[in-house]
C-alpha cells in the first residue's frame, strides 16, 4: 500500500467561509495537509487564524465550504448527519476551547456520557469514567457539578470526557489554557502517554511553544492558511 492510503486524515484545499458579501470571513482559505496514524500534532498561530475552525472540521462538527476531508480515506463531505454522529462516537474525542460540559450534571456523569452513547454497560462505564477522572487528577471531584468546579477543573473534566473512550483521534482545542504550569506538564505527559501507549493520534491547538514541544509535529496557521509545517527533531519528555 502506498503511504497515501494509510493517512488517517487528509485535507485537500479545504475552505470555510463565514457570512457573505461585505461581512465575509475566510476562516480557512484552502488548507491541505495529511496526518498519519500515531502522530501528535500541535497547531499554533495567532488568534483568529483559523485553528479552532480547522479543528472543528477535523472533528466532523462543522461542514466545510469547499474542498475535501478524507478520514481513513472516507470522504466526510458525503456522509449523512447520522453517519457523522457515529464517526464522532466511535473514532473521535474532542476537547472544546470552552469545555462545553452539561450543566447541573456531575463530573462523573459528564465523563460517562460518550460511553452511554457507545452502549457500554453501566458498571463498566462508571469504572472507565472514574479512571479517566483520576488520570486528569480529579479523583476527588467526581460528584461535583461544573458550576462547583474551577475553570481548570472543568477543563480537565472535558479532557477526561474526550479520552475516556480511547478514541482513534483526539482533538483538543487549547486543553491546557486554564491550567498552572505544573498541571500543564502533567496533562501534556498524559497526552503523550496516550499517544505512545494507546497509539491515539492527537491534534492539539496551543499558543505555547513549551506545550507544542511535546508534539511530534507543529502546524503554523496564519490568516486561514498553513504557514509552516514542522516535524520536531527533539520532543520534550
Amino acid at each position: 500500500m502506498s503511504p497515501k492510503a494509510t493517512a488517517l486524515v487528509e485535507l485537500q484545499d479545504l475552505t470555510k467561509i463565514y457570512g457573505s458579501g461585505e461581512s465575509e470571513v475566510r476562516a480557512l482559505a484552502g488548507v491541505s495537509f495529511r496526518i498519519d496514524p500515531g502522530e501528535f500534532v500541535a497547531v499554533m498561530g495567532a488568534s483568529g487564524s483559523g485553528k479552532s475552525t480547522c479543528l472543528n472540521m477535523l472533528g466532523c462538527l462543522d461542514s466545510a465550504t469547499s474542498g475535501r476531508y478524507l478520514f481513513c480515506g472516507l470522504d466526510v463531505g458525503t456522509l449523512s448527519i447520522d453517519q457523522l454522529a457515529l464517526l464522532r462516537r466511535n473514532y473521535l474525542g474532542f476537547v472544546f476551547q470552552g469545555y462545553n460540559l452539561l450543566a447541573r450534571t456531575s463530573a462523573l456523569e459528564n465523563v460517562e456520557l460518550p460511553l452511554v452513547y457507545r452502549r457500554v454497560p453501566a458498571a463498566e462505564r462508571q469504572q472507565s469514567a472514574i479512571q479517566a477522572l483520576q488520570d486528569v487528577g480529579l479523583g476527588d471531584r467526581m460528584h461535583h457539578v461544573p458550576s462547583e468546579l474551577s475553570g481548570g477543573q472543568q477543563q480537565r473534566v472535558a479532557i477526561a470526557r474526550a479520552i475516556v473512550t480511547s478514541p482513534q483521534m483526539l482533538l483538543a482545542d487549547e486543553p491546557t489554557g486554564n491550567l498552572d504550569s505544573a498541571r500543564k506538564v502533567e496533562i501534556m505527559k498524559l497526552l503523550q502517554k496516550l499517544n505512545q501507549d494507546r497509539k491515539i493520534t492527537i491534534v492539539m491547538v496551543t499558543h505555547e511553544t513549551d506545550m507544542a514541544a511535546f508534539a511530534t509535529r507543529t502546524l503554523h496557521f496564519k490568516d486561514g492558511l498553513i504557514e509552516r509545517d514542522l516535524v520536531s527533531e527533539k520532543v520534550s519528555a
Partner: protein, 401 residues
C-alpha cells in the same frame, strides 16, 4: 439503550426542578380546572332536573295568561271554581285537581315571625305535590267547605315559628288572620336555585279566598294524570276543556297556559346547558392559559436545551437518540402533570360538590379531553424545538443564542 435514555430523561427532569415543576403546573392547572368546572356544572344541572322530576312527572300546571305575555299578564281572566269541578267530572285521565292561589305573607307566632308564602288549596295539593305528614293531618271536608281558619305548616315554617315544639293545636297569625295549626308536612329538602320547598303554609282555598284575598279567583290549577306516560294527551284534553270554558275561538291564541313538568324540565334544561357551556368556556380558557404557560417554559428553555443538544451531538449522539430522550422527558412531565391534575380536579370537585350540596359527577370525557390537550401541548412544545435543534450540526447548536 432505551432504558438508559429513559433514565437519562428522568435524571434531566430531576436536574431542573424549576423548569419541570412549572411545566407540570401548567398542565395541572389546565386539567384540574376543566374537570372542576364541568363536574360542578353537570352536578348542578343534574340536581335541577332531578329536583324537578321529584315534584312529580305526571304533574300539569295550568296558569292564566298566554305564553307570550307570561303567566302573570293581568289582562287574562283567572280560572273559576267551576273549571276545577268540570275538569274532575269530565276528564277521566285526570287523577287529582288542586286549584290554588298564593301570596307572600308575614307569619307570626308570639314574638317569632317569618315571612313566607301562604297558599290556599285543597287536600289534593298534598297528593299532587307529594307531601306526606309528619304531624297532624290534612284538612277535614267541613274545614274546606266553610273556609275555617286552619293551616298546615311546611317543615321550614314549623322550625322557624315553633323550633322543636309540637305546633298542633297552637295558632299562628297569617296576614292578620289567626289560624289553628292542624298538620305539619315532612321535609322535602332544599331544591335547586336554593328554593326551599318546605317554606310554605297551606290554608283551605275557601279560607284563602274569603279571609286573605277577598276574591274567588283561582290563580293556578295543579293536576296530576293517572298515567305519567300519557301526559301530553292529558295536557291537550285539559287545554281543550279550558278553551271551551273560556270561549276561545278555534285557532285563536289561548289566554292561559298548561305546562307539564317535563316541559318545564326541558326549558330549564336549556338554561342549565347554557350554564354548562359557560363553565366549559371558562375552563377552556384556563386550559389555554395553562397551555401557553407550558409553551412559554418550553420555548424559554430552548436556548439552554439547544446547547445541551449540541453537546450531546458533538460526543456522538444521533439526532434521533437525543430526540427520544426529549420525547420521554416531555411525555413524563405531561403525563405526571396530567395525572396530578386529574387527581386534584376530582378531589376539588368532590369537596366542592359536597359543600354546595350538589351530586358529585365524574366527567370521564372531560378528563380525557383535558388530559390529551395538555399532554399534547407539553409534548409538542417540548419536542418540536428539540427536533429543530437536533437537525443542526453540533457547532451550530452549540453557538445557538
Amino acid at each position: 439503550m432505551i432504558w438508559t435514555t429513559i433514565l437519562m430523561a428522568f435524571r434531566e427532569i430531576k436536574r431542573n426542578p424549576m423548569r419541570s415543576s412549572l411545566t407540570m403546573l401548567g398542565i395541572i392547572i389546565g386539567v384540574a380546572s376543566v374537570i372542576i368546572m364541568v363536574a360542578l356544572g353537570r352536578g348542578a344541572a343534574f340536581k335541577i332536573t332531578s329536583d324537578i322530576s321529584s315534584m312529580g312527572t305526571n304533574l300539569l300546571i295550568a296558569t292564566p295568561g298566554s305564553e307570550r305575555h307570561g303567566p302573570t299578564a293581568s289582562a287574562a281572566q283567572p280560572f273559576k271554581q267551576d273549571d276545577v269541578r268540570i275538569m274532575l267530572r269530565e276528564l277521566g285521565s285526570v287523577a287529582e285537581v288542586a286549584p290554588a292561589g298564593s301570596l307572600g305573607a308575614l307569619l307570626v307566632n308570639g314574638n317569632l315571625n317569618w315571612s313566607s308564602t301562604v297558599t290556599g288549596s285543597t287536600n289534593a295539593y298534598f297528593q299532587i305535590r307529594a307531601f306526606s305528614f309528619e304531624l297532624g293531618e290534612r284538612f277535614s271536608d267541613a274545614q274546606l267547605q266553610s273556609g275555617a281558619a286552619v293551616c298546615v305548616l311546611g317543615a321550614t315554617v314549623r322550625t322557624k315559628l315553633f323550633g322543636t315544639q309540637n305546633p298542633i293545636g297552637s295558632s299562628i297569625r297569617i296576614a292578620k288572620v289567626n289560624c289553628a295549626v292542624v298538620g305539619v308536612t315532612r321535609p322535602k329538602g332544599q331544591s335547586s336555585f336554593g328554593m326551599d320547598q318546605d317554606d310554605f303554609v297551606l290554608v283551605p282555598l275557601a279560607t284563602f279566598q274569603r279571609r286573605i284575598t277577598g276574591s274567588t279567583d283561582v290563580g293556578v290549577i295543579f293536576l296530576s294524570a293517572h298515567d305519567g306516560k300519557q301526559i301530553s294527551k292529558v295536557k291537550s284534553q285539559v287545554a281543550a276543556l279550558l278553551r271551551e270554558r273560556r270561549r276561545i275561538a278555534p285557532g285563536a291564541m289561548p289566554d292561559f297556559n298548561v305546562q307539564s313538568m317535563e316541559e318545564i324540565t326541558a326549558t330549564l334544561g336549556t338554561v342549565t346547558n347554557a350554564l354548562i357551556a359557560l363553565l366549559g368556556a371558562i375552563a377552556a380558557v384556563s386550559l389555554l392559559v395553562g397551555g401557553i404557560g407550558i409553551m412559554n417554559i418550553m420555548l424559554v428553555s430552548v436556548t439552554e436545551r439547544t446547547r445541551e443538544i449540541g453537546i450531546r451531538l458533538s460526543i456522538g449522539a444521533r439526532g434521533r437518540e437525543v430526540l427520544f430522550q426529549f420525547l420521554v422527558e416531555a411525555m413524563a412531565l405531561s403525563g405526571l402533570g396530567g395525572i396530578m391534575g386529574i387527581l386534584l380536579g376530582l378531589l376539588v370537585s368532590y369537596v366542592a360538590a359536597r359543600l354546595m350540596h350538589l351530586p358529585f359527577s365524574l366527567v370521564p370525557d372531560m378528563v380525557v379531553i383535558s388530559f390529551l390537550f395538555s399532554a399534547s401541548v407539553g409534548i409538542i412544545f417540548g419536542y418540536l424545538p428539540a427536533r429543530k435543534a437536533s437537525r443542526l450540526n453540533p457547532i451550530e447548536a452549540l453557538r445557538h443564542e
